[in-house]
């Protein structure tokens, strides 16, 4: 009688492997597993826009506190609400907001970029390049030749296929630049390398730490960033499915467009929906969604309210 392996009693493959969160495991290995898991979660997620926007705000808060400022999430939301942000916090806020508006790669198949044509196209776009330069200028890189060099070296690094070596290259290349510019360049390069507009590096970097070019250090910081993103993604996904379910309980015209917009950005205000609905209608729709428990009012104010997940 032949021997066979009983597949019904084998290990449970639905759970993720224990070494992904083990302490003795090399950070690069754990990072790879976490990146792949997050990639699959993002591929089907309806809230990528919201996630990118919120992560950008959180990274901006972290970078501002590194620069000795005390802005909170609510402050940054308010800064963007009525006007263009201004003042000392504005360069960091607009830099990371710009980063979060860069394109996502559409499918998993395009992620691993065998040829470098795509990033080349993006950098060859003069608008993209000049925006990149003006963002680094505002962050404190006042010298135009160095800003141009940084833009080109970031583009070259982002075309590398391995995020770790891309990060190492850009950390080495920016060693004498101001810290916000460095972190922005690293976030840009890693984001373009993975195809995500998520600033993973500056999210994972400790408040008092400075970027180190060793692979292990980079992997540990990226790992912390990816874990943070995952931690934020899961509750948001649950709330997003509640919101999508609640869409059947409201009858306003344009409700699907409004919900799509809520899922695409960090917070919406009724005035921001005026291209879809009259202000009174959008306010009523948002209030109704709050009453159904599908949406939250984020400010706690009686006026100038902001709604989001």
């Amino acid at each position: 009688m032949g021997r066979y392996v009983d597949v019904t009693t084998s290990i449970n493959l639905d759970q993720r492997p224990g070494w992904m969160d083990g302490t003795g495991v090399h950070p690069a290995l754990r990072l790879g597993a976490h990146l792949a898991t997050l990639h699959l979660a993002l591929a089907t997620s309806p809230i990528r826009g919201l996630l990118a926007d919120r992560i950008a705000l959180l990274a901006a808060i972290k970078n501002l506190s590194r620069a000795g400022r005390t802005e909170t999430l609510a402050d940054l939301r308010d800064m963007r609400m009525l006007d263009e942000p201004a003042g000392p916090a504005a360069p960091i806020l607009s830099a990371w907001t710009w980063l979060s508006h860069l394109p996502w790669e559409e499918t998993a198949a395009t992620r691993f970029r065998r040829d470098r044509s795509e990033i080349g196209k993006e950098l060859a776009d003069p608008r993209h390049l000049s925006r990149l330069q003006s963002v680094t200028f505002d962050l404190g890189l006042r010298d135009p030749t160095r800003a141009a060099n940084l833009a080109f070296s970031s583009g070259a690094a982002a075309a590398l296929s391995c995020p770790l070596s891309a990060a190492g290259t850009v950390i080495d290349a920016t060693i004498e630049l101001p810290v916000p510019v460095r972190l922005f360049a690293i976030d840009y390069v890693i984001g373009r390398c993975c195809g995500w507009p998520l600033p993973i590096y500056s999210l994972g970097l400790g408040r008092r730490a400075s970027p180190q070019p060793h692979f292990e250090a980079i992997a540990e910081i990226l790992l912390a960033g990816v874990v943070e993103v995952t931690r934020i993604l899961h509750p948001l996904t649950a709330r997003a499915s509640d919101l999508l379910a609640a869409a059947h309980q409201v009858r306003t015209a344009q409700r699907h467009a409004v919900i799509a917009r809520i899922l695409a950005q960090d917070a919406v205000c009724p005035a921001g929906l005026c291209d879809l609905l009259p202000p009174r209608h959008s306010r009523r729709l948002l209030l109704r969604l709050v009453n159904l428990g599908a949406l939250r009012e984020l400010t706690g104010r009686p006026t100038y309210r902001l709604y989001g997940l």
Binding site: A67, G68, D78, M79, M81, L82, D83, E84, P85, A86, G87, P88, A89, A90, G140, R142, D143, P144, T145, T299, R301, T303, Y304
Partner: protein
Amino acid sequence: MSMEISVPFDRELRDWPEEQRMREWMMRVEAVIFASSRPVPSKILSAVIGSTVPVETVIAALLEELRPRPYELVHVAGGWQLVTRQRYSVLLRSCLGKEGREYDLSRREIELLAVIALRQPLTRRDCEAILGRAVNGDDIGRLRGIGFIATGHRRPGPGAPYTFITTDLFLEHFQMNSLDDLYALQAQKQDFG
């Protein structure tokens, strides 16, 4: 600063001897900075020298050149400016008085400017809360008139008040390159108690 180089001139100086060419570039950079009333950004300076040499090299040579002079080249508000050295400030103030770029600010206005500079962006109500007194609209108007402060984004709340922020002219007048210099100065003061 709107400065356009409309008349074509020889930037590269290809037929000049090496030594003389560098001297001429240094002279040109100094002339532009000397003639300008505002700090001159590197972008403009790099347009008057040859394209092969970085503007930092010329600036470094010029800094070395100006070492024995009573004035120096400083980097303020994102540009380069010629100013007299710090140690002649008392001398200049005593013999020239309020001539030049001195702004006659009252004590109240200076307090207000300090609060706005350190805690920006903030509204007039915030200033009043910090200073513990009413802030006169005229004081704000005067600081805005000089150009030390400007309005920033509006604050959501009753009346949607404007916030105030400092400008590049403020940085220039107080010889700072960025607001980080101000916060560093504040931290230093706190260290001394």
